[in-house]
Symmetry: C2
């Protein structure tokens, strides 16, 4: 076991999930953020009574994470525009807005549509729409939702957006998506981005609002110093572009980017306005390993709040146990899920239907029908497997939240 | 590019998905197997008009696959009991039953419940239930569904099943789950399995129906000869157990196991009654590579019927294109998805939201808004990402099938 593994496990054993006491008592939640739902008879149940696999979020940890993000970015003079691709859950988006977010991000158009149906009305769609059908639907959403902002990354797309907005009889709000260098989406920083912003600015049916630049690769860089360097260098061309847009008299009220790994770094980039953090609400095994500003081994800025409850279905063979949470409940992302509160064992979910516990020097041995709780591997795709999330406090179900954007990947 | 890659790509390019002509005209489908659904306005649309990512199944290929399985097992004197964990779609289960299946399998209790709600009433649940809540629910399902059969793999579990059946006031149908050696689930073959069957047989509230033994590891062995040897050797201890059960006068009308990779091998095992094939309805990139009886490179017994439609969202950078189907639409299973009809390019879905096409010696170069069609990597977890499946014929939507068991992994 490496030092890194050990430290992470110690962090977990010491109660990252279970302990709520470290956080100040959260403000009372409004009815809007915790919709009661008569369909769900599970409200009030202890977690131990839930049918497994079950996806749970610990409310004390979740609220603490939202508060940490908000207070940090506020202190640094910027905002947070949470990326809801992570949680796909309107109730959590409402919590984020109630605690000070400037708006939300969505990755896909249908996500934006569902979030708007659920009362979220400041929405930045971070992916350009390119098909005629999506352009039309996006404009219909913009017609109903004043706070809907769309991304653009080519001049051809800007012309299509302008035509679609004209057809819908609206003025559409637009940000220029600038490539941080990964060439996944976004226009090249510098002259191409400036020219695109100018085209948007002079398009009769478009309104330029600014730019976004999301450097996904910077988020998981291990070690705070290395991450800081990479994040700031990665955003430098975008910052220079932003400055040129500003000097050209363009409206650049938005310069959005960054995420959970760089939320306390991004304000160092001149002009930067808001962090698009997603995973910070849950954290996950992938983020635990990147290290934080005051702990090289474990990213302890946020606490793991999202877990999967699973049940042992077979314990009759030496050195292992089989559970009911496999790839269809955990994904096959690495690192594998982490068993909360235990040491000396591994959990894998390579089988579609079954998880496997393997013992080395185990803190306990499981019997059939015993339950385990897992810190998820990579929160985004795990959430996308479930229809509902049990919001718990002190291990009792306080609300059952529909993951209304689950599967809305169009 | 290896020979294997080449052959597989040639097979695909030559029209495994597109060509329906190779199959005899399918029998007319009953209304029950193609429920019309007024909620879905997409019926009748060409595939090209669907919002992407979209999961599509080609009906000619699907029906051909079901016919191939059925005619092969029938000719070999056994049956097929399709595992619906693969498709999670009641409409497909009805197709399989209408074409001669002896019943269906489900991996999880909630899957069985939903299949029963949709009119399927011969259901073998292949995973033992161990928690009190699931035991009770299973007995409630058995009360309504005469054809519901449950698996057991420990004596303690047999006693729990007997108590739960007594509490529900029913006699529950049971098969003994025999471990093929992987130690995932199932009791050890030989004396332990025989003793367990005898315990079930003398339990007042249980009715022994036989046994199952699923050797998952045998299914993907590459090369027909090696797979045949492995499958037959793997089932030998179970076959010997089956024989001892029979000699003991136990009711062993069911000896279920096998799957898509061994469907034309399993009848060689004495006593074997039915193949639990799942993936054969769709095939996928994983199965394409195992080789068939008459083609060492490509498993051409069945045809890839399940595809993901995706749209290019960025094509402005040299050597690559970005699409809208990433890990949340394709999973990260390997081998990666295969682009239908193209050569000299790879498709990866390592990003949550975006797929990446990389060109080597490409048969074409994509522009933004162009569409690709992908053969899925591993069909089971891919299906579990979508709420609906577009059933198409000649590239037009003939039905929209709710994937009603999606997420029913409890």
């Amino acid at each position: 076991m490496t030092r890194n593994d050990f430290s992470r496990r110690r962090f977990i054993r010491d109660g990252a999930v279970a302990s709520a006491a470290a956080w100040a008592a959260p403000a009372a939640l409004s009815a809007a953020t915790h919709p009661s739902n008569a369909d769900y008879l599970e409200v009030g149940l202890p977690k131990a009574d839930l049918l497994t696999p079950a996806l749970c979020v610990d409310l004390d940890a979740l609220e603490g994470n939202i508060d940490t993000m908000q207070s940090t970015v506020s202190a640094n003079g910027i905002g947070v525009r949470p990326h809801t691709k992570t949680h796909k859950t309107p109730a959590i988006a409402h919590l984020q807005m109630a605690r000070g977010a400037v708006g939300i991000c969505t990755a896909k158009l249908t996500e934006a549509e569902v979030m708007f149906e659920h009362g979220l009305d400041e929405i930045l769609l971070t992916t350009p729409n390119v098909s005629a059908a999506k352009l039309r639907r996006a404009m219909q959403l913009r017609r109903r939702c004043d706070g809907f902002v769309q991304a653009v990354d080519t001049e051809a797309n800007a012309r299509d957006l302008d035509a679609a907005a004209r057809e819908a009889g609206i003025i559409a709000d637009i940000v220029v998506d600038v490539d941080p260098g990964g060439h996944r989406t976004g226009v090249t920083a510098g002259e191409p981005a400036l020219a695109l912003a100018q085209l948007v600015d002079r398009s009769a049916n478009l309104r330029l609002r600014g730019m976004l630049c999301y450097d996904g690769g910077a988020q998981h860089v291990s070690g705070f110093a290395a991450r800081r360097t990479r994040a700031i260098e990665g955003l430098a061309p975008a910052a220079e572009t932003f400055s040129r847009m500003q000097q050209s008299g363009l409206n650049v009220e938005i310069f959005s980017g960054g995420g959970t790994g760089t939320y306390n770094i991004d304000h160092a980039t001149p002009g930067f306005t808001d962090v698009q953090g997603g995973s910070y609400v849950f954290l996950d095994a992938q983020y635990l390993g990147i290290g934080g500003e005051d702990d090289d081994d474990t990213y302890n800025d946020f606490r793991p709040s999202l877990t999967i409850l699973t049940t042992v279905v077979n314990a009759q063979y030496e050195g292992r146990a089989t559970t009911d949470a496999g790839a269809k409940s955990c994904t096959i992302n690495r690192p594998w899920s982490i068993v909360v509160g235990e040491t000396g064992m591994s959990y894998t979910s390579g089988s579609d239907e079954f998880g496997t516990v393997r013992y080395e020097n185990p803190s306990r041995i499981y019997q059939a029908a015993d339950r385990l709780e897992l810190i998820v591997s990579h929160c985004d795709p795990v959430v996308n497997l479930y229809d509902k999330m049990y919001a718990t406090r002190n291990d009792r179900v306080e609300a059952v939240w529909p993951i209304a954007c689950r599967g809305r990947n169009q």
